[in-house]
Amino acid sequence: MIQTKTLGARVFDMFNVIFMGILAFSCLYPLWYALCLSISNKAAANSGLVTIFPIGFSLASYQEIMGDMKFFNSFWISIQRTVFGTIITLLLIIMMAYPLAKKNTEYRIRNKLMWLVIFCMVFNGGTIPWYITVKNYGLIDSIWGLVLAGSLPVFNLILMMNFFRSLPKDLEEAAVVDGAGPWRILFGIVVPCSVPVIATIVLFTGVYHWNEFFQGLVLTTGEAHYPLQTYIKQMVVNIPMTNLTKDQLENLSKLSNRSLDAAKIFIAMIPMLIVYPFLQRYFVNGIMLGAVKE
């Protein structure tokens, strides 16, 4: 298709390309800013001189973190939580999605179970009853509280179920003829055919567990049990106040250590930045899978 572009169209194209570039820049800038703050020297970072480039290159903040056991303790809790949380969630979702992907004639209580699952997705008892229940289970300050208390992610379950349904029926029928039972069929045939959806769910669940901070806050009693995001929320996020005078505000920002805070923030982002290339390949699939129609 050959188009003779009018002047107006060219000007539009140019502005459009620039505008898209600005939007993309705005999405990267906060990360870049955190990095710049973290490798600038303290004085420059605190006085707000750092804008686009680091000023007075210094790795002092990272050295300081190296000796901060609390930070690494929280980091380790987050790693454990993400790994256990992802494995357990994935396994349970696979085992739950497979029977639910059956027709009601093949598994006669399927529809009833499905309604229960849907009910749990669209209605919840609220934060306080949830908190009291989890507390009564004795899951405070426990890694299992952080892994399990978020309950089953129903959206991911439905994603998996819809994918299982879209697989050709012949696969399973052939296996049944060969005498394979439900477990063999599920883990020997269905799961190996479902790599895309499994990857999507691993990534969604992993991101969820890594980023979650609220449960880390309410299901723990102190910083020794905080996952990383909660640690950052409690230790780094400063609340500004206007009822302070100008001098007080300036003193406050001199006392704070923005470079160190930024270094912690940046380290907390690193795992996400590492998995991001894989993530963004799969999640588009994931969103589309969620909209599968029968």
Binding site: T51, C120, W130, F213, M241, A262
Partner: protein, 299 residues
């Protein structure tokens, strides 16, 4: 033989489903029992069964409280603004990106704009607080043109705008995915035919692109309805402070403070229950509408 086989299979299906079902029951269904607290004067020492029943007293008290009105208004205003802008901005972005003819550039842009969606509000809020802080980038730039520094984050007059703006910024790329996918489904022959008929790009967008993705637009709009009381706890909790309670305190943050900090379990449960019920009704309505209007089924 066949019947026996089916029953064995069903037995194994139930075994498979059991662990997930127990998980769901323990952490989703059992907590619902706690809703009784909304109708009690709950005392932790007495538990659900021995606490005093008070009927609808909590509801009455809740509605008579001075804060509750403001909190409801804040919640609705912020949630509604987010709902509308989460539809419009991603749509405009998708349409504009669709006009970019440089294929590689387009891919790079797409990859970058999804990124903020995957970062937590803890992380983004701390960076945003830095940028808008007293010695942040904005004030530094304002300083160059001779303006006095301002503490943006504790200015109640602009807090909602900051919340909605940063949330739209975080999610516009991710929310555009579904529109971009819908755009690829439009038959390119239509554009060619339109060009031959002398349509310019604006006309093509108006008469081909928009009608082509109208179904998706309606679907996204309808499904968004369920969020009418979700003003975004994670974001506001990480960005607000007592100075901006008047415009920024929402139902969820209020429930958190009332329940888990002030330990007024019954009142907090009541407020949470109101939210759950309203959300439940709206989600059901939105799903039914989505099914009828766009033939969309989630399961």
């Amino acid at each position: 033989m066949r019947k026996k086989q089916r029953i064995t299979a069903e037995f194994h299906y139930t075994l498979m489903i059991a662990p997930g079902l127990i998980w769901l029951i323990l952490f989703s269904l059992v907590p619902m029992v706690g809703i009784v607290m909304a109708f009690q004067d709950y005392t932790p020492g007495l538990g659900y069964w021995n606490s005093e029943w008070v009927g609808l007293e909590n509801f009455k008290y809740l509605f008579s409280m001075g804060d509750s009105r403001q909190v409801m208004i804040n919640t609705l205003v912020i949630a509604l603004a987010k709902m509308i802008l989460h539809l419009i901005f991603p749509l405009i972005f998708a349409l504009l990106l669709n006009e970019v003819r440089l294929v590689r550039y387009k891919k790079v842009i797409q990859t970058i704009v999804y990124l903020p969606h995957f970062l937590s509000w803890v992380i983004l809020a701390s960076i945003i607080l830095n940028i808008f802080g007293y010695t942040g980038v904005i004030n530094t730039i304002n300083g160059f043109i001779g303006k006095e520094p301002v503490v943006f984050m504790s200015d109640a007059a602009i807090f909602r705008q900051l919340i909605v703006g940063t949330d739209v910024w975080k999610e516009f790329g991710y929310n555009a995915v579904i529109f971009l996918a819908a755009l690829t489904g439009i038959n390119p022959n239509l554009y060619e035919a339109a060009a031959i008929d002398g349509a310019n790009r604006m006309q093509s967008v108006w008469h081909i692109t928009l009608p082509g993705i109208m179904g998706t637009i309606i679907l996204v709009g309808v499904l968004g309805l369920g969020n009418i009381l979700n003003a975004g706890f994670d974001q506001i909790f990480n960005m607000y402070n007592p100075m901006v309670y008047s415009t920024g305190d929402i139902l969820d943050t209020w429930v958190y403070r009332m329940g888990l900090l002030d330990l007024q379990f019954s009142l907090a449960t009541t407020a949470g229950l109101l939210k759950s019920v309203v959300s439940f009704v709206l989600i059901v309505i939105s799903y039914v509408t989505a099914y009828k209007v766009a033939d969309y089924r989630i399961f």
